[in-house]
Amino acid sequence: MNKLKKINQYLLENHPITWHSKFLQLLVAGIFGWIISFISGYLLFGLSELKNEDIRDFYADSNFVSFHVIYCLIIICIWAIYYYKNNAIKSFYPLSKLYFVKLFTQLFIAFSFLVSAYYPFTYGTINRVKNELKIDETEAKIAKLNLGMAFVLNNKSMYHIDNKKEIAKLKLSSIYYNDISNIWEGENSYMYYPHKLKDTYSGFDLIYGDFGDLHDSLSTQIDNYKYLFFKTESKYESKDSCESNLFVTDFVQLPNSDKLHVFDFQNLNATWLDYQSLYTQMSTNEMITNKVLRWSKNHQFDSIQLAINDFIDVCLEYKIDLRLDPRMILKYLKLKDFHHIESITGQYENKYNNRIDADDFSYPEDYSVLMKYSNNDVPVSIEDSSAFVTAIERQDIYFYKKDQIRQLLDNYEMSHFNRFDSGFISMLFVGFFLAFLFVLFEFANIVSFLITIPIGGVLMILVALGLIFINLSGNYNFENYDHHTREKNSIVFVFCIISIIVVTTIYGVLSKKFNKKVLNVLVNMTYIISPFFVNLIFGMNFILSGHYVNSKCGVEYVNGYSYITNPFWILLFALFGLFSFFPLIKKYKALED
């Protein structure tokens, strides 16, 4: 306690801004909040959450968020009591150089810490998941799940667990035309290897370029391996060209043998969503089904049963809700193996372009299916088999909660393979806002601020009316509607209004000619505007530089300047705008009533 008092005394005697901002105390409260959050995240995320909660959302879903909000409110209230006890500027004490910059920076850092408990909390859950799902063990379980899933899934979106291994991305060297910056840019998409399958996919980084017409072939042979390409990007052929080609950006290696192996399914699975966009004549579902049936045909039922049993064991270990009977599933597979589909009639016949969907026959109410048995090993009637298959496929009695498995594995991936995007910068904006607010009341009179609110509101209404006038005036019809010109006019109008406020304020403070009450309102408004001002100038540049140009590719609308969308730069410019305002405060405070 004595030590704390000594620190406090030291700060009071030597660093009045830090003492006044209570930076250290806030920081300690923030760090304490981080520690509590981390521990809470670790402890609250149990087995039940593992399969039901996304680690990114768990903070919001758990009660911890309420605790954190209350914690922040209490800390900020207590802090504010001490913060407002002393005020150097209102007492006209001499202020050190960059007083407000220092004060704001300290508050900004401390508040950012305080409000960002989401991150330690989530990292706590990540660490818990890492402990619960160790890589080696989990990879083995995932392999079992992948393998077993091929046999227990039975609907159109079957085999829907995302690949547990990130498919390596091609390193592509290509150029494309940037519409915004109006320049040709190069792009490299670097692949990274999955943790466990590095060896399997080695050598991929040597592959570059366009791999041909994807519509014509499903796979390409390279170095004795078959590759299936999917996920393309449209890119210009060269900087002088208006023609674009499809470039392959992602691919998978196809299995070379019929040996039952988990990679077969993993690779196929990864193609699922993007694959269809390539207009191939076969769906992933069909490919998997065919593969399953091929194994069935080869009478590998023992290994299939083993795979299903393993699948169920893993599910039970993580308490995934399921009701599966391996014997029934095997019976189903055997039955399907001997179905031979001869013809399809009904409205869907042509729509699928002669494509046969192996699952569709189970819905006789949609169209009629004629079947005959080619093998008498399964002595069931057509009606019985149809009803049986239908029951299985509709999952009335056989089911497992795929979402739970997906969630479990998503959490595993996010924890171990850094897929968790913290987005920490968004919390900096919250910290910025709080620091911004409390620095405002460091120099602003609360009454004048309250007066500013309605005046600002009226001004906003007037600006809105002005915008409506700009956008609806003239010959308004959709055919002649010049979107860009009206947008330009609107932005310029808003910018002018804001500039008038800012310039008037600066003039009023420097010239000392304004009534103090009017100036109070102007200063408050300018303070609120200041973080946006630099960004507005960039926005103005972007808008004003926009124009139509005749190019080889036709008439194009181009902008000479980039619009700032990166949050880091937005924040930096907001700081710059605010810091530019701070020198005004001393001059403003010194003005007579």
């Binding site: 009071l12 005697e13 030597n14 009045p16 003492w19 006044h20 001490y82 407002y84 006890k85 002393n86 150097a88 007492s91 006209f92 004490y93 001499p94 202020l95 001393k586 001059k587 405070k589 010194a590 003005l591 007579e592 009533d593």
Partner: protein
């Protein structure tokens, strides 16, 4: 250092006479004059003991003289030249619904000057002080400050212009913390901060209250706190609006005496302008008086040059006005005014108080109260 030694002799004289409180306060002033940390430490130890239960008069005297002996060897720069601080030329302001006009005010304040600002309520005293403190705009005239050569902005100037309003704003936290916070901003850091703050606490008799907060202090101690805070700022010009309001008689005397002494500090003399309704007390310490009536100024120095041939008495009697008229009938040129409470009696004679009293005694007039206000602004209130 002759002036300093004279101050020390006065301190010794007070202590010899048994005026320990007064002697101690003046001793602290001498220590503050030295601006020497070593003497501050000695003084703080002394004050700590002086406020403790161990205090006794014999030891007090011994310790005090021990400190005086040490102070006699002190050397520091004495500021003898009284630099001008503020020159106001025909400053005026019109304000309010009734277009009240303050001014034209022309004054010149130097280091060490104490100006008393008197006048009835609503005559522009606070307005004038706020104008001088650069808190309020004026319409016409010219104000020149020569307070801080390094002041690069109005804000810097205002850090040196200390204005204490009649109603001092509430502050939060302990008294000592607030003083330290002020001192730190004025560049007094580290050990020096602690020493100077404690010296101010001692000087303004706040030792026992140093850890108290605003709510725990009486009005008098709140004013003392404001003064302590103000003096930490090493002010050049101090503007006080009714500092004696809400103070008891003893506290008023103490504060006025302190202000006078501090204004004439040997190392850091300052100019003071204070407004007050306590005419006689203010006149006692002021070098010059500015009387405001309906916003218009009347300058009076303590030497009443314009009307020095006049004797004016403020009088309260048990008898009627007729009897008073009869009693003063033989005094040539006498004038009597009555405001409902007291009489104002004047005769065109210098130092004629005895003549008036003699006439009243001869007529057996029962006197309840009498005061010679020939040289006081009190007579301007009639």
């Amino acid at each position: 250092m002759k002036l300093f030694h004279e101050k020390l002799n006065i301190v010794s004289s007070h202590i010899h006479s048994g005026d320990y409180h007064l002697g101690f306060r003046k001793l602290v002033d001498c220590v503050l004059d030295t601006q020497d940390k070593a003497f501050y430490k000695l003084c703080i130890d002394f004050a700590d003991w002086n406020e403790s239960d161990l205090r006794n008069d014999a030891e007090f005297v011994e310790r005090a003289f021990d400190l005086i002996q040490k102070l006699e060897k002190a050397t520091f720069e004495i500021k003898l030249d009284k630099k001008p601080l503020l020159v106001a030329e025909n400053v005026s302001k019109v304000y309010g619904r009734r277009k009240f006009k303050l001014g034209d005010i022309s004054i010149s304040i130097h280091e060490g000057d104490v100006w008393g600002l008197v006048g009835e309520n609503g005559n522009g005293k606070t307005t004038l002080l706020r104008i001088l403190a650069k808190d309020l705009k004026f319409d016409q005239g010219n104000l020149q400050y020569q307070i801080d050569e390094n002041a690069s902005s109005d804000y810097d100037l205002r850090t040196k212009l200390t204005y204490i309003p009649q109603r001092t704003p509430k502050w939060y936290g302990s008294l000592k913390t607030n003083l330290k916070f002020a001192a730190t901003h004025y560049g007094i850091k580290g050990e020096e901060n602690e020493l100077i703050v404690l010296m101010m606490i001692i000087r303004f008799g706040l030792w026992k209250y140093r850890n108290h907060n605003w709510d725990e202090l009486s009005s008098g101690y709140k004013m003392r706190f404001e003064l302590a805070r103000t003096f930490l700022r090493s002010p050049k010009l101090l503007l006080l609006d009714e500092p004696l309001a809400n103070l008891d008689v003893l506290a008023q005397q103490l504060i006025l005496e302190d202000l006078k002494n501090l204004s004439q500090s040997l190392s850091n003399p300052l100019g003071i302008i204070l407004s007050s309704q306590q005419l006689f007390e203010v006149e006692k310490i002021s070098d010059k008086i500015l009387f405001l009536k309906n916003g218009a100024p009347t300058h009076l120095s303590n030497a009443n040059e314009e009307e020095e041939q006049l004797t004016v008495l403020e009088l309260d009697i048990l008898d009627s006005r007729d009897e008073l008229n009869a009693a003063l009938e033989r005094l040539v040129g006498h004038e009597i005014k009555f405001n409902g409470g007291t009489y104002l009696v004047s005769i065109p004679v210098k130092n004629g108080m005895n003549q008036i009293l003699q006439a009243l005694v001869n007529h057996n007039i029962q006197i309840r109260y009498v005061r010679d206000i020939s040289q006081s602004t009190r007579r301007l209130f009639f």
